[in-house]
């Protein structure tokens, strides 16, 4: 194998692979990236067996072929190179392969492992649906933070994605709060192509993070092609393909916990609420993160008291006529929503001090966003 590649192109694709390759693994080849040169392009593949990413960049290929080299080392080296043109040449001698990389006056030889040992990733099986990138980005932003990082009875380390003919939905929960976002049917006119009937799949947390990275650096204008085989999910973003192993497991019955009769409704300006919560949070109990909201007559009072740090109180004018209510929350859960909500005003809907509260943007266009959060008992 021998090829020449533009440094900027090469670096961009190598960067994307860094989130996927395993740093500490018992299977050495998983720390490697697979390089395959053919015709006029270089294909790169990285995987940790749960998640894989395959991408391409154009290259002048003198001789086709393939090899695998340590992904982190290659990335660190390419990042520091100064000239534009990078030449790579694979050498094979007595069963050991190596990659020679040269760029201007810099030159390196890296030992590699043969391609035969690299896991084979499945091919894209064809698209089932097309997802508009801007909408998908927003949906991930609004839900990914609520995915639990540990698995327990009620939670999975994944969000559920529900595709329907005209709408798509994403739900994530860690048992304490739940983020739900659904597209308005109007999105179907803006590039969303759904599936016939209904398709429910679990997207692992790591896949959500990597997908978001692919979306933020997405040069192509088109939609994201979604595909699925028996064991994998596929997201094709331009020339890049994200492959993740499908999770099995029972997603909790989220429909049952979406509040239906929360009639104490407060409308609050989002940025000033976030600022107030942030100030009060400094004086909350460091372990429980509890703060208290007092609502009464168009006024919201936010109170915290930590055993050592002191007490803090904020009052703000809001629109509220639901009668006096005191309710405790983990301030982190509130702030994470407020950071994701992106709305001038938010609406908080309560029933009583021990039932789930629902928060949502006061006005909505393309997305219907609901955040359900359980109170703390205070």
């Amino acid at each position: 194998m021998e090829f020449t590649v533009e440094r900027a192109d090469f670096l961009k694709e190598l960067t994307l692979s860094q989130g996927v390759v395993e740093r500490k693994t018992t299977i050495p080849i998983l720390s490697n990236i697979l390089l395959e040169a053919s015709e006029d392009s270089l294909q790169m593949t990285a995987t940790d067996l749960e998640l894989g990413i395959r991408s391409k960049c154009s290259a002048k290929v003198k001789k086709g072929g393939s090899t695998t080299v340590p992904a982190k080392k290659l990335f660190d080296y390419v990042r520091q190179l100064e000239d534009n043109e990078i030449k790579c040449k694979a050498t094979e001698a007595a069963g050991s392969s190596a990659l020679q990389v040269s760029c201007g006056r810099s030159k390196v030889r890296m030992p590699g492992l043969a391609k035969e040992n690299f896991p084979v990733l499945p091919e894209f099986p064809g698209k089932l649906a097309v997802l508009p990138p801007a909408i998908l980005t927003q949906m991930i932003k609004r839900t990914a933070f609520a995915i639990s990082s540990e698995e327990s009875r009620y939670t999975l380390n994944a969000a559920m994605m529900i595709l329907k003919p005209e709408t798509m939905t994403m739900v994530a929960t860690d048992g304490h709060r739940l983020a739900y976002v659904e597209t308005d049917p109007v999105v179907a006119k803006e590039g969303y192509e759904g599936v016939g009937g209904e398709l429910r799949v679990l997207v692992p947390k790591k896949a959500m993070t990597e997908l978001q990275r692919l979306l933020t650096d997405n040069p192509s204008e088109g939609g994201i092609e979604f595909g699925k085989d028996d064991n994998h999910l596929f997201f094709r973003v331009g020339t890049r393909l994200l492959i993740c192993r499908m999770l099995s497991g029972q997603f909790p019955n989220y429909e049952a916990v979406m509040p239906k009769a929360n009639d104490k409704i407060a409308t609050i300006e989002q940025t000033s609420l976030a600022a107030a919560v942030r100030r009060v949070s400094l004086f909350s109990d460091e372990r429980s993160h509890a703060i208290r909201l007092h609502l009464d007559n168009d006024e919201l009072k936010i109170v915290s008291s930590g055993s050592e740090s002191g007490e803090s109180e904020e009052t703000m004018a809001i629109s509220y006529a639901g009668g006096p209510l005191q309710i405790g929350f983990n301030w982190q859960y509130l702030l994470e929503f407020l950071a994701a909500a992106d709305s001038e005003k938010v609406q908080m809907e309560f029933k009583d001090e021990q039932s789930a509260g629902q928060i949502r943007p006061a006005s909505e266009e393309k997305l219907r966003y609901r955040y359900v959060v359980m109170p703390m008992r205070i």
């Binding site: 429980s288 021990q354 039932s355 008992r377």
Partner: protein
């Protein structure tokens, strides 16, 4: 170099370590003079030696030896069931006496403590060695058995000193004499150096504590952990380990283990033993307002093999019903039919304050709140009428009989004879001495 002192000082600080000699067996002998001079062994209810008097030790009895082996090598041994009530009462007396000299006492287990005597020479008008001697004399006479006392410039050296001569020893090691002791002390005898570290150090050519003390600080930092560095510093005569004199108010984990006799293969009986341990562990957790987010259950077979499993809870809780329900699948996986089990245990993990609980979306909050209120009531009843007045049905089989049947079920003599007003569960907080008048 071997003969050069590690320090030029005498007692820059004065720490004593005091260790009760064969504590449990000595308590028994002190309480019943008829046992003095005889091989006395405690731990009958567990079937293994918990503690043995020096008379028994001389006959070859060792800790954790099975009782049938004891009977073979020492047929006249007097086997007694453990009487923790008496031991802890005498232990309290022990600490109280030491506190007459200094408030800085660290209770390190039931039968040993560290005390800081630094700066008391002028006040008590005596040298540190005289102080140590006086404390020892007072303990020996007041409690009726002997203590081994070590005096040193820090905790590690004090601990070495108290072990130097046992039983009833008094060893004072001045900082400038440390090297004389360390050169005779194998490295594995140093407090805090375990078998793994010993093996590693021996590979580096370190055989004695002095070899270790002579190593470079840089070498110790590079090859060992912080606790080892602290030991190294103390071996060199510096005092870095503080005494923790405060009473415990919180725990990182809580463990409850109970052996039962005879061993059982009855699945439900073994589960009810586990259930009882979970109840007891959560009682303690609630007392400190803590709740775990995970716990480990384990079973031990008749031939001392253990099997355990960690269980994660869906929410932080100290309600035994939640833990017992979640433990059942784990129990079913580790329990092997046809195997006889001798004990069960539970360890509550990741304990945190539970006063403002985060409610869960998928578990009914009113039920959580109701259970908490219910257990406030249960704890109140238990405080008033005794720990086992109320217990769960799942613990029924374990509560139906005594923990140990047969000869292991012998109860301590303190519980046989009750004073007026005492019950099987509630007795006066004084050790009862049993000298019979003939």
């Amino acid at each position: 170099m071997q003969d050069a002192p590690l320090s030029i000082h005498g007692f820059p600080r004065a720490i004593v370590h005091i260790d009760g000699d064969a504590f449990f067996a000595s308590c028994e002998q002190a309480r019943d003079p008829a046992l003095q001079g005889k091989p006395v062994i405690t731990g009958k209810e567990r079937g293994i030696v918990a503690s043995m008097s020096y008379e028994a030790k001389r006959r070859g009895v060792t800790r954790a030896m099975r009782l049938f082996e004891v009977r073979k090598i020492c047929p006249d041994a007097i086997l007694l069931p453990s009487d923790y009530e008496t031991y802890s009462l005498l232990s309290k007396r022990f600490f109280t006496i030491v506190r007459r000299y200094t408030p800085d006492v660290e209770e390190y287990g039931i039968d040993e403590c560290f005390a800081d005597l630094t700066g008391l020479r002028r006040l008590l008008r005596m040298s540190y060695i005289d102080m140590a001697e006086k404390i020892k004399h007072e303990l020996d006479t007041a409690l009726g058995f002997t203590f081994s006392v070590g005096l040193g410039p820090n905790k590690v050296i004090a601990k070495i000193a108290s072990k130097w001569k046992k039983p009833s020893g008094l060893t004072a090691i001045m900082a400038r004499d440390i090297h004389l002791y360390l050169k005779e002390l194998p490295i594995e005898k140093v407090w805090g150096i375990g078998p793994q570290t010993t093996a590693y150090l021996q590979k580096q050519g370190i055989q004695t504590a002095l070899d270790f003390a002579h190593k470079d600080e840089a070498w110790v930092r590079q090859h060992l952990t912080k606790p080892h560095l602290e030991i190294w510093q103390e071996l060199n005569g510096n005092s870095v380990l503080q005494l923790s004199t405060e009473e415990k108010t919180s725990y990182a984990s809580i463990q409850k283990v109970k052996t039962f006799t005879p061993p059982s293969e009855d699945k439900e009986f073994v589960f009810s033993q586990l259930s009882k341990n979970i109840e007891n562990a959560t009682i303690k957790a609630r007392r400190y307002r803590l709740a775990p987010s995970a716990f480990v259950v384990y079973l031990r077979t008749q031939d001392f093999r253990s099997a355990g499993m960690e269980v994660r809870l869906s929410h932080r809780t100290s309600i035994p019903n939640d833990l017992i329900a979640s433990s059942r699948p784990a129990f079913d996986r580790i329990f092997r039919p046809g195997t006889f089990y001798r004990s069960t245990g539970v360890v509550l993990l990741d304990l945190e304050n539970d006063e403002t609980p985060q409610l869960n979306l998928f578990a009914s909050p009113s039920k959580i709140i109701a259970m908490r209120e219910l257990y406030e009531g249960v704890d109140e009843v238990r405080r008033k009428y005794g720990k086992h007045t109320l217990y769960l049905g799942s613990s029924f089989l374990a509560n139906q009989f005594a923990q140990h049947l047969g000869e292991r079920g012998d109860i301590p003599r303190r519980k046989e004879t009750l004073l007026k007003g005492e019950t099987g569960r509630k007795r006066l907080g004084i050790p009862m001495f049993l000298a019979d008048i003939e």
